[in-house]
Amino acid sequence: MKKVALFSTCIADFAAPGPATAAKDVLTRLGWDVEVPTRQSCCGQPALNSGFPDEAAKLVTSWLDTFSRYEHVVTIAGSCAAMLLHHGPELVAKRRHKPFPKLWEFSQFLVEHHPDIKLHFDARVTYHDSCHMTRMLGERTTPRQVLSKVDGLTLVEMADSDTCCGFGGTFSVKFPEVSTAMADMKLGTVQETAADYLVSSDPGCLTHLAARAKDQKKNVKTLHLAELVQMALREDGSA
């Protein structure tokens, strides 16, 4: 069995274990030997975005210590992938560090390795293009490619699908009122689609939006793409 390491991210550890758990299940059912290294923690983005690059660099170095040895690393957070690939090399350039492994965002990995995956899920969904995955990682297409493979699924595009949800990591607690005002704009465009689920590829955005929706008693159900695929994967689905 081919081996893949799952970078589950600190969000999975502290706030939202669902997406990483689903990704692990999906990849296992697709025939991968999935490892979830226990010494992993965080990509360091919170420190970097708070203005502490040295501290972020320590996290990236530690991340490389954990993941460097794998041929494939898959993560369920587009933002963390973008952080490691866009900022990572510069952050650790002046430190002794292990080489970067091939890092995949979940949907990228699926499209590359399982183009013929059989999926079925009866629902109307709308997709939120998370900022860092879209603009820093430069990945807009693979999530929609995955969604297009799902029988029974209708994708209803929302307005401004690539507009920020207002999470922004520490921004969400530094300026909570602005952050939630942005979430309300996003939730409004989601509700306009009358979709059953709001789907995205970043647990950060989804945690933030679900928390705001709950507070405002708005009926918006969030689903990470990995969770959707987990539900949509047919028993005979391994391609």
């Binding site: 203005g51 502490f52 952050s179």
Partner: protein
């Protein structure tokens, strides 16, 4: 005691009833935290409406889309701006020489105060009582109007948007649309206050303004403008506008004072073929503005129109120092406002007033800490979710999110005091504990335990959780570590190295 203004357009200003908070009129107040400022901006009665207006303007058919044709224009324009910045001293010297050769006077101002003093002296020397102004952000930066008024010189803004906010006593809320936070009804109400009952439609409101401005154009002794581009090869000032007010402001008055940032040059006049369409497209999805005013020197002896004297005031105010920093690319900005229109934080705040600086939005959060008095806006780069939309929007290809991140680093390095010390300790501890598997795991288990034992109402009072819970439900932290428990069987495969 109020002296009657020797102008027509501002008659009845004392009757304006709009309640304008201090931060909208003058920017961030001493002692006002940025967080409080954002709350005040969100609480303004018109913010929700402005937010919807800004969102509408950023969508088709109004929003800017970089199609192939415009991507090419953008590449060319961005390259021209880089060329200028790489040889700024040479181009400045050439520009100054050509302006003077055409009969203009050039003044260099190191600071905002120097620029104000220079302009005041020019006004005094020419016995100026009334100045008409076209829209100019750099004159906002040096807070020129208030200063001239304090010296007994009346100033009348002649751009419609600027006229509106001058009547209300506000700062511009957006780079090219200074009154973008107001509706046509707001403007009709404002005009009602000054004794003009006009239908709430753009055309009649503009017509009324035009009529009231006419006598001021006629009576003004001085015209004050900004400069969009200064051509180094000819000494030509390029100013774009849509209302024709620039042409009037620079032809009728005896004296023309043009104020420009020192970086606002183009190597060749021919470059306006790229820069003007680029600016107009990025600013408003237009091919060009209705008017392009090109000025080379004052009126010649045989010319009947134009000022007797042209003064060009070139402002530094922090720009020169920026050139040798890692933020130098911000000088490529052409002030189109497209980064603001693309910015979800700017939209949520209902425009730029919530930033408390003259320049709001992404470019404002980058340049405000670097211009003028140091230390005043160092926390602005944090008022951003780092979504990156501004980098895509920028016609000059300024890597705004990267600059914002670098400025955050600078701010934390320079910060002093107990709060800054605490933050440093927090992140140092973060780096230490989150790179040790044992302590990290301990924290995950701690969170799980807290989620199971402590009621969420109590959890929501803890630092950080409190800020999160301000408008949001807490995530189910009782599930913390769940994934690791189910993945335990893989531990053997994870050898420590």
């Amino acid at each position: 005691m109020k002296t009657p203004l020797p102008c027509s357009a501002l008659k009845g200003k004392d009757g304006v009833t709009a309640q304008v908070p201090a931060f909208v009129a003058h920017g961030r107040q001493p002692g006002q935290s940025l967080h409080d400022l954002t709350k005040d901006a969100l609480a303004l009665s018109y913010t929700d409406e402005t937010r919807e207006r800004l969102r509408m303007l950023d969508r088709p058919p109004f929003g800017v889309v970089w199609d192939d044709e415009h991507l090419k224009l953008r590449d060319q324009g961005a390259a021209i701006r880089r060329e200028v910045l790489a040889h700024l001293d040479d181009y400045l010297a050439q520009f100054i020489e050509r302006v003077e050769a055409a009969g203009g006077h050039v003044h260099r101002a190191a600071t905002a105060a120097q620029a104000r003093a220079i302009i005041t002296t020019i006004a005094r020397d020419n016995d100026v009582k009334l100045a008409v102004k076209s829209k100019s952000m750099v004159t906002e930066e040096i807070e020129l109007n208030a200063h001239l008024e304090s010296q007994g010189i009346a100033v009348v803004e002649t751009d419609l948007g600027e006229h509106i906010i001058q009547l209300r006593g506000e700062r511009p809320s957006q780079l090219v649309g200074p009154a973008t936070h107001l509706s046509t009804q707001d403007v009709a109400d404002l005009f009602h206050d000054i004794g003009e009952d006009i239908e709430a439609r753009p055309e009649p409101l503009a017509e009324s303004t035009r009529t009231r401005l006419r006598p001021d154009f006629r009576d003004a002794d001085m015209g004050i403008t900004g400069v969009n581009f200064g051509a180094a090869d000819t000494g030509t000032l390029v100013i774009v506008s849509n209302e024709g007010n620039v042409d009037l402001a620079v032809t009728h008055p005896r004296v023309h004072v043009a104020v420009m940032g020192m970086e606002r040059l183009i190597p060749r006049l021919a470059d306006i073929g790229t820069m003007v369409p680029l600016l107009c497209y990025a600013a408003a999805d237009h091919v060009t503005t209705a008017y392009q005013t090109l000025i080379t020197g004052p009126a010649r002896a045989h010319e009947s129109d134009g000022p007797q004297a042209l003064h060009v005031v070139i402002l530094d105010n922090g720009r020169d120092a920026m050139r040798s920093t890692e933020y130098s690319e911000a000088l490529a900005c052409i002030r189109c406002g497209n980064c603001q229109m693309s910015c979800p934080v700017f939209k949520a705040l209902g425009g730029g007033h919530g930033y408390g600086s003259v320049y709001g939005g992404p470019i404002g959060a980058v340049i405000s800490p670097l211009l003028g008095v140091p230390g005043k806006h160092d926390d602005l780069p944090f008022l951003c979710s780092l979504c990156g939309a501004c980098a895509d929007a920028c016609p000059a290809k300024i890597p705004l999110p990267d600059l914002l991140l670098k400025l955050r680093v600078r701010a934390t390095h320079e910060a002093t005091g107990p709060a800054a010390a605490l933050e440093k300790t927090v992140w140092r501890t973060f780096a230490r504990t989150w790179t040790w598997p044992f302590t990290y795991r301990l924290m995950v288990e701690g969170a799980r335990l807290a989620g199971r034992l402590v009621p969420s109402s109590l959890l929501a009072r803890l630092p950080l959780a409190r800020d999160w819970a301000n408008g949001r439900a807490l995530p189910p932290i009782s599930l913390a570590g769940n994934l690791r428990r189910t993945a335990k069987r893989h531990r053997k495969g994870d050898r420590h190295e």
